[in-house]
């Protein structure tokens, strides 16, 4: 029997709410954070809507020394990590530094920072490029800065698997805890809403070019035309069940099962679900709610709906996609879904999928419009990354 790994703290930054409580209230109220892009002039691009975090300022929350060396995504990550640690009642300075690690996922690293420095390089010359560009752009930068700020020198790393990364990073943290690390800050925050990032996102061919925020991101709907991109994510404080109990920590729940697969001739999502359930030692009947990947691209929606129906039966389990209120946050999105799942378990409430009218042919019991009260003990979170990544995680209260 392997030791349980539990979550004792959450930090959340989402387009519809900053901080765990704001986000949860907004999510239950069906408040959407999707609107016209304001971070830069997007009028010349096919897609012009996004889920932006509009009320975040790092000044006053982070030391001055960090400002010239950090992209927005790193500032968000550092503040969200602070919130998660505070939520867990953990003061890292009081703990042995090699007993704590950081495991994040990233889809783009520090894009706006890099854009500025590349602009300096091309327009002024190499001597105008910031020395901090050497790491500020890098995928691992959030892990590194969280590690430095909090004195966490234990096993740390970064996973880059698009949306699936939000779960993969948490799975990696679970491995490290099972190998003896006491505490890991795990999850993902992504933020690449600058013009350079925007061009990159368009290459996927999956961005919705709809103009109306309530009609732009409609997973499992016949009107689905791709997704809206957003920024934000969540970080979780993970500990072994024993050490959480020993310090009397409040526990949100357990990371009970996980599996990752890769698409081959057949899509691998169903296999990921089955393996994650087996890893958790539960059957389909034990799962009370599924947080869907919700690509909002007809073929991908079909694949996901089929996987869910094959495992749980038609209308066999409540399914939700609260990311319809935030847009897809890439790796940050899966981590946010995980945090949302723990909040749902705590409150015995399934948050809604807004705007969508599910097509009957998918056979899903999609929780739309309003939250649904239900006795929740076990949740399944699904995430797919561009290029064939599938991850599934089972969490239990």
């Amino acid at each position: 029997m392997t030791a349980s790994v539990v979550v004792t703290g959450l930090g959340v930054a989402a387009p519809n709410g900053l901080g765990e409580q704001d986000f949860w209230n907004a999510t239950l109220a069906g408040k959407s954070g999707i609107g016209p892009l304001t971070h830069f002039d997007a009028s010349g691009y096919p897609a012009r809507l996004a889920g932006e975090i509009s009320d975040f300022t790092a000044e006053g929350q982070l030391p001055s020394r960090l400002m010239p060396q950090t992209d927005r995504v790193t500032r968000l990550s550092l503040v969200v990590a602070d919130w998660a640690l505070a939520d867990a009642g953990v003061r890292p300075a009081e703990l042995p530094e090699f007993s704590m690690g950081v495991s994040t996922a990233s889809s783009a690293g520090g894009f706006a920072f890099s854009q500025q420095e590349l602009k300096n390089l091309w327009s002024k010359g190499s001597q105008y490029v910031s020395a901090y560009q050497s790491f500020a752009w890098f995928y691992a930068v959030n892990t590194g800065q969280i590690s430095i700020r909090n004195g966490m020198k234990g096993p740390s790393g970064v996973v880059v698997t698009d949306q699936a990364g939000g779960l993969d990073a948490v799975a990696q943290a679970r491995r490290q805890i099972r190998k003896g690390t006491s505490l890991v800050v795990a999850g993902a925050v992504d933020a690449l809403l600058c013009s350079w990032g925007w061009v990159g996102l368009h290459t996927s061919g999956r961005l919705s070019t709809a103009e109306e925020p309530t009609r732009a991101y409609l997973p499992f709907d016949d009107r689905a035309v791709g997704h809206v991109a957003g920024e934000g994510g969540a970080l979780l404080i993970m500990e072994s069940g024993d050490s959480a109990r020993a310090r009397g920590a409040e526990v949100y729940g357990e990371i009970a099962g996980y599996a990752a697969t890769f698409d081959g001739r057949e899509p691998g999502l169903r296999k990921a679900v089955e393996l994650a359930l087996a890893d958790a030692g539960v059957t389909a009947a034990d799962v009370d709610v599924v947080f869907a990947d919700a690509a909002a691209e007809p073929e991908l929606d079909r694949v996901e709906a089929e996987a869910i129906v094959e495992v749980f039966g038609p209308h066999g389990v409540p399914v939700t996609a609260p990311k319809t209120m935030t847009g897809r946050l890439y790796a940050g999105g899966a981590a946010l879904d995980l945090a949302t799942a723990f909040l749902a378990l705590r409150e015995d409430t399934i948050p809604p999928t807004v705007h969508t009218e599910p097509a009957e042919r998918y056979g899903l019991d999609l929780v739309v419009s309003q939250p649904r009260a239900a006795r929740l003990r076990t949740a399944l979170v699904l995430a797919r990354g561009h290029g064939g990544f599938n991850s599934a995680m089972v969490v239990r209260s």
Partner: protein, 87 residues
Amino acid sequence: MSRTFTLDDLKRILLEGSGAPEGTGLEGDIIDTDFADIGYDSLALLETASRVEREYGIELDETVVGEASTPRALLDAVSAHLLDQAA
């Protein structure tokens, strides 16, 4: 015409390029304090050297950043370059 590089210039460039350190920071008598003790690491000094080079139109030896561990040492190194430039 020769330009001078003063402690105030150095402080301004440090703040612009690398932010203000925690604690007493750049206040007080820091001219002989190690940069590390003031709160600036080697990357901050690299960024500072790069900004000094841009602003003063000089090229510092690569060894300067490694060897100038205090504000006084860096001021001296830059002043020597400015003198060379003027000569």
